[in-house]
């Protein structure tokens, strides 16, 4: 299964990915429409000690957000592996349990204040918009393992567990 992998070293914080994300989620798939409708981005680029760090959902194997979802809206598609609270039979109520549960802080409140917002990996699009737009190759959509995925994951885990 392909995943979006981040090479932090390559990110220079240009925010192109956030614009592309908004555009891809606007009605007409354009940046103009996204700006007009204030379509929020589902990827964040955060400043960390003076360095830009892109943050987004990893579509976890065992997503804590899915366990936490009391409405049943947040589901992981067994075929595509995509975790999303949109387009399922159950609708999101905006209870924020997923925000509380996500260890990566990848779920946010939609500016409408009513639902949770997260990456849906551009549903069905061959390459997610953020990846496609990144001029620095900091984001890549690859089979896990091709990338230095394990290494990246390991450092992250060791930081988290303090080991």
């Amino acid at each position: 299964m392909k995943q979006i992998m981040v090479d932090v070293e390559r990110c220079n914080g240009c925010l192109t990915c956030t614009l592309a994300c908004s555009a891809a989620h606007s009605l007409t798939d354009t940046i103009v429409a996204a700006m007009a409708a204030k379509t929020p981005a589902r990827i964040q680029v955060m400043p960390v000690k003076g360095k830009a760090v892109p943050l987004m959902c990893r579509h976890c194997e065992e997503p804590a957000c899915v366990d936490a979802c009391m409405a049943g809206a947040m589901q992981k598609d067994p075929v595509t592996g995509i975790v999303t609270n949109e387009g399922n039979e159950q609708a999101c109520v905006g209870c924020w349990m997923c925000i509380m549960a996500c260890p990566y802080g990848a779920v946010t409140q939609h500016p409408n204040g009513k639902t949770a917002l997260k990456c849906d990996r551009c549903r069905g699009r061959e390459t997610p918009a953020c990846v496609e737009s990144c001029p620095n190759n900091a984001l890549r959509f690859v089979e896990v393992g091709e990338f230095a995925a394990e290494k990246a994951a390991k450092t992250a885990v060791s930081q988290l567990t303090g080991t």
Binding site: L55, E62, P78, P103
Partner: protein
């Protein structure tokens, strides 16, 4: 192989779907006393408020059981378990054989033993039938008194207020949400709800409920009286008791399963009786923060426990990672808030970092013990809750970024780089 699950809610459903995912061929049956598709109790307040219909509180699609080939035995109560014969006895006399059994019977509302508690129009709020009865009673009511300013009480209060009723909440502790929030956080949330128009009586418990008097009934004034400890009387046509829950352990008792308050289970969600597992509000598990075994009656934990139980039931040993027992997200009106772990530390060993911006209704409190985050409260801005939660859960040392923790831009990035 026949997997039998008692309870059709967070833990039971998550277990059932995981069982089916892991094991395409075995038989799976769910027994439920409630004769209805799996619905989310957490959305009962939305149902009370009229913002969601019965169908809209279902938390799985309508074809869930068919698609997952799950046999449903609804409207039946499991009366007892015979662990020798591996059979469950239902209230209609049916016996059901199992290879593995999951007890996911959840909890019930506790009703305090005060005079008049069995008067008409006094309700708990746990089941859809409670919510239906409350709405029916409210159709002819003007005033509602809610006993208990915990999470469920406040949810019920805001829901019924939205239906146009006059709502008074009575709480015997001096603050609202006493289990999760400290006084400052509770105060911010209280002001937010009060601004809506809901009345509060804090620091006073109730003594009795006096049923409508004969004259009252004759002159069609059917209100009950709620008598507080200090003698104050409040009149209401509908009274909702939201004074906590107790685990449904009766059926486990019949099998000789060990019980504390709930059913203690090991890391594999096993009870002390072979082939019988427990998960959800009925189970006692180890809290990752306090290390103590106890009830953790919240939805995410019930789901995670059900999912873990399923792995072990099919013979893939999987340990329950442990969850933070106390965690809750609330938003009654405008101000979202989340509390987790040890949010009100007692003792000098704890270090507390906090920031408070009254003008923005923002409050953040982080509780540390020996360089590890053990609890937190976020009010107003909750976007970092998950990161703090992960730090708490993983007992990560935060000494490296102690001074950055409180910042509004503290993110996962600090951990990953």
């Amino acid at each position: 192989m026949h997997h039998v699950i008692i309870g059709n809610s967070a833990a039971g459903i998550r277990a059932a779907e995981t069982l089916r995912y892991l094991d395409p061929v075995s038989d799976i049956s769910i027994i439920s006393e409630e004769d209805i598709h799996a619905y989310s109790r957490c959305l009962l307040p939305d149902f009370l408020a009229g913002s969601r219909s019965e169908r809209e509180i279902y938390f799985r699609p309508e074809d869930f059981y068919a698609r997952n080939r799950i046999q449903t035995i609804f409207g039946s109560k499991a009366e007892s378990i015979d662990p020798e014969q591996r059979r469950v006895l239902l209230d209609d006399g049916t016996r059901l054989s199992y290879d593995k059994l999951l007890i996911a019977t959840g909890a019930s509302s506790t009703l305090p033993p005060i005079p008049g508690i069995d008067s008409p129009n006094v309700f708990g709020l746990r089941h859809l039938r409670d919510a239906r009865n409350i709405l029916k009673a409210c159709a002819k009511a003007r005033r509602v008194v809610i006993i208990g300013a915990g999470f469920v009480g406040l949810e019920a209060a805001t829901a019924l207020y939205r239906q146009g009723l006059e709502v008074t909440v009575v709480e015997k502790m001096p603050q609202i949400l006493p289990q999760q929030f400290d006084t400052l956080a509770a105060d911010i949330i209280l002001q937010d709800i009060q601004a809506e128009g809901i009345r509060f009586v804090l620091g006073r418990g109730i003594k009795e409920i006096s049923p409508p008097s004969v004259w009252g009934r004759i002159f069609s004034n059917p209100g009950c009286g709620v008598v507080l400890e200090d003698g104050t009387r409040l009149k209401a046509e509908v009274i909702i008791i939201a004074a906590g829950t107790r685990p449904n352990v009766e059926v486990a008792l019949s099998a000789g399963i060990k019980i504390n308050r709930g059913i203690p289970v090991n890391d594999f969600m096993e009870t002390n009786v072979p082939h019988i597992y427990a998960a959800g509000d009925v189970a006692e598990t180890k809290d990752v923060v306090t290390g103590q075994t106890g009830l953790t009656p919240i939805w995410p934990n019930a789901s995670a426990q059900g999912r873990t139980a399923a792995y072990n039931m099919v013979g893939h040993p999987k340990a329950y990672g442990g969850m933070i027992g106390l965690q809750n997200a609330v938003e009654f009106r405008d101000v979202p808030a989340i509390a987790m772990g040890i949010s009100r530390p007692a003792g000098a060993d704890y270090q507390v970092l906090s920031s408070y911006h009254p003008e923005k209704n923002r409050y953040k409190k982080l509780v540390l013990l020996n360089d590890r985050l053990v609890g937190m409260i976020l009010v107003g801005d909750i976007h970092q809750a998950g990161i703090y939660g992960a730090l708490i859960k993983n007992k990560a040392s935060v000494s490296r970024f102690n001074d950055l923790l409180l910042r509004d831009d503290f993110s996962y990035g600090y951990l990953a780089t």
